[in-house]
């Protein structure tokens, strides 16, 4: 079981919840579990079976794109953070 933090932008799709519990031993499995329960999330999070370009997913505070992408392992008790891609840079 992992805790998934939902950004304000996606809360309407999950009934307003800020954090959800989800099952899975990889990021792909956790996202599958989420979109099965909240189907409108699918088009927001995935594009052609990959992470959509404007969503970032973090496990243990690290972007999964610099780890193993959707195959990044998720351990019991890990926190996943979903974030919209934002411009920074002062």
């Amino acid at each position: 079981m992992a805790a998934v933090r939902i950004p304000p932008t996606l809360r309407a799709e999950v009934g307003g919840q800020r954090e959800l519990e989800a099952h899975g031993s990889t990021v792909a499995e956790v996202i599958d579990d989420l979109v099965e329960r909240f189907p409108p999330l699918r088009s927001q999070l995935l594009e052609d079976g990959e992470l959509a370009p404007f969503v970032n997913v973090y496990v243990g505070g690290e972007d999964v794109r610099t780890r193993d992408g959707l195959q990044t392992p998720v351990a019991d008790g890990d926190q996943l953070i979903l974030l919209p891609a934002m411009a920074g840079g002062n």
């Binding site: 950004p7 370009p53 973090y58 610099t66 934002m86 411009a87 840079g89 002062n90």
Partner: protein, 314 residues
Amino acid sequence: MGTETTAPASLLDLVGSTPLVELPRLSPRPSVRLYAKLEGQNPSGSVKDRVAKAMLDAAEASGELEPGRRLLEPTSGNTGIALALAARLRGYPLTCVVPANVTSERRRLLSLYGAEIVESPGEEGSNGAVRLAIELAEEDPSLFMPFQYANEANPRAHYEGTGAEIVAALDRVDVLVAGLGTGGTLMGAGERIRESFPDVIVAAAEPLPGEEVMGLRSLDDGYVPPILDVSKLDRKLLVTNAEAVGGLRLLLEREGVLGGVSSGAVIHAALRLADELEEGVVVCVLADGGWKYLSADFWDAADPESTMERSVWW
């Protein structure tokens, strides 16, 4: 008079060649050496002097930027301040699109350096400033937008400057840590350092924005800067505002360096990565000093996060 002098004729000649200093009191063990590149010592106080100067040089060289043409740039502060200095010395008027919730020092500095300010909605963060600036530029073709997010002169300034300076100063670099904004520092300096030290880990410290500046209407309002290629990053670490302030306090207490918020985040990420090393050299690019943040409440707040969630900090 005929006096011989080595003094440069313009403040812009003093951009770059910033000091690199070791941070031995922050290192987790003596075999791991930690260094900081003090970009706050650039003329307008941040790493963005490199980018502003490089973007103007490139636009002048290509003929795109005619004398006196008005510049427009979305910026939450440092790029605007740097562009305002460079634009004033070179005779261009400048308009900055700034999120409404930046610190008062930044707003005042922009005005003092001569920039006009247009506000974008604070809750839209930097994305809102980018969106509004693009709209304004489309409405008025007389404006020239250097646009740091998509301008190749931005990473090139870090390839030829920041990265080359680090390579010249050290005989080994195992980890480079810089804040992620436009991606210019990480792409440019990362590429240059990788040429000399192919196994270097290029690591981004990325802000976890407060809830109130994440109010995008949908993920489609998201933005990935065109110059940023995430596949060229080896690590990308999310840093909370509270962790960044923790890094700032350590940096000040142990090493006497007064850094800005992103510098605190870089130190936090660097210490996490340094902890994974048996030995090696970790270089932190500290983008600015703490002076522009003195009006903020986080310095001595027991709960820094609560004082920071409504603003864009870097």
